[in-house]
Symmetry: C2
Subunit: 338 residues, 2 copies
């Protein structure tokens, strides 16, 4: 029985840690760098600029329709690197595990991480494991940090400093799926919904976009706080405004229904596979066309544009003809969404 669960000794740095690393982490993440098991991974860098990012994942439940905490941990960091214009290359993976956690579940999560990393073309090169006493953390938290190679010509994308009036705002599909999938999994275990998280790695889609256009001014993955928070963050303190057409933003019927039932606004609900782009007007059509050819961009569309009105603010033009300000998320809707 004990053999099938995480013991405090698995985090001791001694024999049990050693075995856990060998039997689970190195087994699935296997690559020449990790195999050395040195204090730090030694990496060759062939660019003069890199992107570096970190995220801790505490999603509850750890398994949900469309993914698990391991998938989100790999994709979240891959996406953060990708929206900076970088090509994701290397990840670290650090685990905080509650004593008594199932080794089988851990193995399944690690296997998912390995599969996603492979699909995304990144290597997991270094890691860490800590075990805390029962009750001192909730099952499993995972931190991933990532390094991507950044081509000189994409260095300005993350700052968004080239955004101009007339630029188009594009998204790669429906909003709110991840948040509502987690909400359903957490609260309505017996209530079958077909809502699946959109959690996925977007680096290949982003590569397709950058291949057809050199006029991508800004990219961001719309996670916690939803697209509303991203839109208001982008435009804050700028001498331009944003206008979004509510009717062009796709919200799946079941997500919309659940949002209405629970009093959520899908614009504030977290996504894990959605990217907001700002693109020069002349390139918008070819970018959307290229995106639609990728499986994670099938429902891409222009949802709004940069305007010379209401500077510093994002405005939603509603389906019934009204206008309202899109602000940052104020309180907390859904703790532990990622």
């Amino acid at each position: 029985m004990e053999d099938n669960n995480i013991l405090l000794g698995h985090g001791s740095g001694g024999k049990l840690s050693h075995n856990l690393i060998k039997d689970i982490f190195v087994k699935y993440f296997d690559n020449p760098v990790l195999r050395n098991q040195t204090d730090s991974a030694i990496l060759e860098i062939d660019q003069s600029n890199i992107a570096f990012t970190t995220d801790s994942f505490v999603v509850d439940p750890i398994f949900f329709p469309g993914g698990n905490i391991g998938k989100i941990a790999v994709c979240g960091t891959v996406n953060d690197l990708s929206v900076s214009g970088a090509t994701p290359k290397y990840l670290s993976a650090s685990f905080i595990i509650e004593e008594g956690f199932s080794l089988k579940e851990l193995e399944s999560i690690v296997k998912t991480m390995a599969d996603e990393a492979k699909k995304a073309g990144v290597l997991i090169v270094t890691g860490d494991t800590k075990v805390v006493n029962k009750g001192q953390c909730d099952k499993l938290f995972i931190n991933t940090s990532g390094i991507g190679f950044l081509d000189e010509k994409y260095k300005k994308i993350s700052s968004g400093e080239n955004i101009k009036v007339g630029d188009k705002i594009i998204i790669n599909g429906s909003i709110g799926d991840h948040g509502m999938a987690i909400m359903a999994a957490r609260n309505f275990e017996n209530f079958k919904t077909e809502i699946k998280s959109d959690c996925t790695c977007l680096n290949h889609l982003i590569k397709d976009i950058l291949k057809v256009s050199d006029k991508v001014k800004f990219m961001r993955d719309a996670t916690r706080g939803g697209i509303a928070t991203i839109l208001s963050e982008i435009i804050e303190d700028k001498n331009i405004g944003i206008e979004i057409e509510e009717s062009s933003v796709l919200v799946h019927q079941n997500v919309r229904g659940m949002c209405e039932l629970l009093g959520f606004d899908p614009f504030y609900v977290a996504n894990e596979g959605k990217i907001l782009l700002i693109v020069a007007p002349g390139d918008a059509d070819k970018v959307v066309k290229a995106m639609k050819q990728n499986e994670f961009g099938k429902d891409s569309s222009v949802i709004g544009e940069i305007v010379d009105l209401h500077h510093g603010k994002a405005i939603l033009k509603t389906e019934i003809g009204g206008k309202r300000i899109i602000d940052m998320l104020a309180g907390e809707q859904l703790p532990r969404i990622c």
Copy 2:
């Protein structure tokens, strides 16, 4: 009252997260890269090799004699990079915070991190904050990942592949201080000991060492599992052995007393400011001399050597003339030691 504590909303990605980042993280960690607050930090790299490492810190209590969780989070990662022969440059900092945690304590920990980073000469360039519901983590966990620049000539240090019979084993001072300081702080709050954690950044000491010798074959910081676990890991599967003179290993009297009282072996107790070096015999004296001039190397000494005996094993020659095998830590002595 609520204003002084962490709320779930501080991890929402919305307005409260925004303010927390501005008022605490960016305020103390302030540097041009972090100030951009982009999804990924954009870094210039002037070396073709980098070292990359990660660690999650769950130390309990979060404040202890000689440091706090923030100090350990910065120094632990700085040290992991340094023992690989790299010059630590950039850190990420990712926080998992329990709802209700004191903002004042968080600020004090963040300030310590900023101070230690400054002393070590590293920049904290990217971060993340998650807040979990009360009872779902114990106060505060911190992950730091780090990037160091690695000179081509130090690439082989982390593998230890050049270790030969006759090489000397050196340590920069007393063992067991960190583990016993935590033990005392955790269990004997009213029992005043003078034991202080040795937690510190060792990168400047390591630079001093590499300045005087190009025959450093291996370095490792002796953290979880103590020097015993490191010694047995180094020598495992090698066609050489290690011999350690117990009498040359410094254990402070109060640490020794507490270990005896509680049944611990100081060789297995965690350190947070101790480095084990393996150096060619001809360079050992000058390395020790250089180390003694650094405040964190005052008590440096040779404690053993590589021998052509008992291959794959580390042996301790005890003060009373006996010999015993030094093995890896088997169970768990002290959970949440770092």
